[in-house]
Symmetry: C2
Subunit: 319 residues, 2 copies
């Protein structure tokens, strides 16, 4: 194990992601000390009991005073006030990072709250549909991507250290411009979540089909959507409002494509449907080849220690 | 093990579902003999090698002559010709069933092709995204629903025997009117598949985001859609064309709900988003309680022998 890129790490917000970072630092970065803090006293209490960090002090100042890296793990729209609360309590050299799913708005918010402080925004593309201080686990980031979106004036050395930090806890690091990140994530994450939330709502509002029937027969495909539609509501509300332009842009394209499918069905255009369905099959194959999902019946769990890390969406669907 | 409800079973179409039925009969119905047939000689060859049935003769007539139950396992729009091909080759008492995902159109097609023959349409709500004679396995129907949609003039004894057949190979049987079945499945299966196919297509057509990026970052949620968007294209083309009215009706409602979400995002209406997202979470919980999915890290696989049976969609999503 190489030397820890930051001797003292502080994690603000001890939900699924923050808690997992705390556990991962303790597991994979023996040289580092990690402190944790959460605005919610109950969360601090559970975090202390589960040992999500070496220490979970009552006062924010005590959690961050010695920190060389602070990772903000709060909903996207809470980033600015979380950063502002650090003012006057931290070392001037302390690097501020975060785990927000939208990068442009978050980078601006942190810069506003802590002018002059070194900032390296990050987004680990990992998670589960569970949330809260009970949900984290040390292997969450194994074999997952973490995207850094440094600004033009980011200190290259700080970027390198944050990159090493994520690599140490198992992630593969990539770098991207913030606006491009927001568009890529709108496609691969934000709009899929919105669609899942919508279809689950549509199904539960029908008069002709009871909610019990929807639940009973969900194995036909619906079930796949409900998993991501059970993710944390506060986090997702913030994501959609913060990445508004990109989300609306992708949604608009999706609506047009959906209309084309609707039209093909109405006109009995079987060839158009068949061609489309054949194309999407190839994309699935690429995702499995890329190692971002697994087609085996045991989801490849026998190969590695990572549990609940997202390498797992196979199983029934079909009819 | 009780006595087999049908001593001789013939399965027509040896893909995922037909092959699984053949294997399940051999595994769980020791008193019964099962023959298999497929219009494709290559499929018959693989089926013979894998032992999907006790016998896979070259001629259809040889596969069905002694049958007391014939299960048609072909795409929905191929049901009529598959049934017509049986005329003159089967016993007058032989019960005809099928596994189509649309019941109204299929029941009509079979009745047209084989007037006077006893028919009990069925739909096992089970499957995987894999297809073909290599895809089937004996435990596919364990803990899954099978919906029977008998007509008004169906022989009650035949219905009871078909019900016992499915129960013997692991399914829980339910009965429903064909038109209600088609609406329920439009919601729980057909429209979710159409949405998944659409969104995967939209993502792969973007100019600003490469297909490689979509694949790389798919763990953010997109991945969940690609699984069902890789199901058999012929089967799904037929489903959408055969259950047109119900699919278009549900699609229309979904479009309206999607517009409402779009509007909430555009107007920064965080409360509307939060309320909606909170509601859908409860539905997810019900699906897990109902046993149609599993929230545990190992997907409950340690509890039962069923592999790839659909009890498995947990894992990463989240951010």
């Amino acid at each position: 194990m190489s030397e820890a890129p930051f001797p003292n790490v502080a994690v603000i917000g001890l939900g699924l992601i923050g808690g997992s970072i705390g556990l991962a630092v303790q597991e994979y970065m023996p040289g580092a000390r990690v402190t944790g803090w959460d605005a919610d006293a109950d969360v601090r209490c559970v975090a202390g009991e589960r040992g999500l960090a070496h220490a979970v002090p009552e006062e924010l100042a005590d959690a961050v005073a010695d920190a060389d890296l602070i990772v903000l793990c709060v909903p996207v729209r809470a980033m600015e006030s979380a950063a502002a609360a650090l003012a006057g309590k931290i070392k001037p050299t302390c690097v501020i990072s975060d785990v927000g799913s939208c990068k442009q708005s978050v980078a601006e918010a942190i810069a506003r709250a802590l002018p002059g402080q070194p900032v390296v925004p990050a987004h680990p593309v990992a998670g589960t549909e569970h949330s809260g201080p009970e949900a984290g686990f040390a292997t969450l980031f194994q074999n997952r991507w973490c995207i850094l979106t440094p600004g033009k004036d980011s200190d290259p050395q700080a970027v390198e250290r944050v990159s090493a930090f994520w690599a140490n806890i198992g992630a593969t690091v990539d770098t991207m411009a913030p606006d491009h990140h927001d568009l890529v994530l709108a496609v691969t994450s934000h709009v899929p979540h919105l669609i899942a939330y919508t279809i689950v709502g549509t199904a539960s509002d029908l008069e002709e089909v009871t909610r019990g029937e929807v639940i009973k027969y969900s194995a036909g495909g619906f079930r796949d959507f409900t998993r991501i539609a059970s993710s944390d509501p506060t986090m997702w509300r913030d994501v959609f409002l913060s990445n508004k332009q990109a989300v609306l842009e992708i949604l608009q394209r999706l609506s047009e494509d959906l209309s084309a499918m609707q039209r093909a069905i109405r006109r009995d255009d079987g060839d158009a449907l068949f061609d489309h369905f054949t194309k999407t099959r190839a994309i699935r194959r690429s995702i499995i080849e890329e190692g971002q999902d697994d087609a085996r019946p045991d989801f490849g769990r026998s190969d590695h220690s990572s549990v609940g890390d997202g390498a797992a969406n196979e199983g029934g669907s079909g009819l």
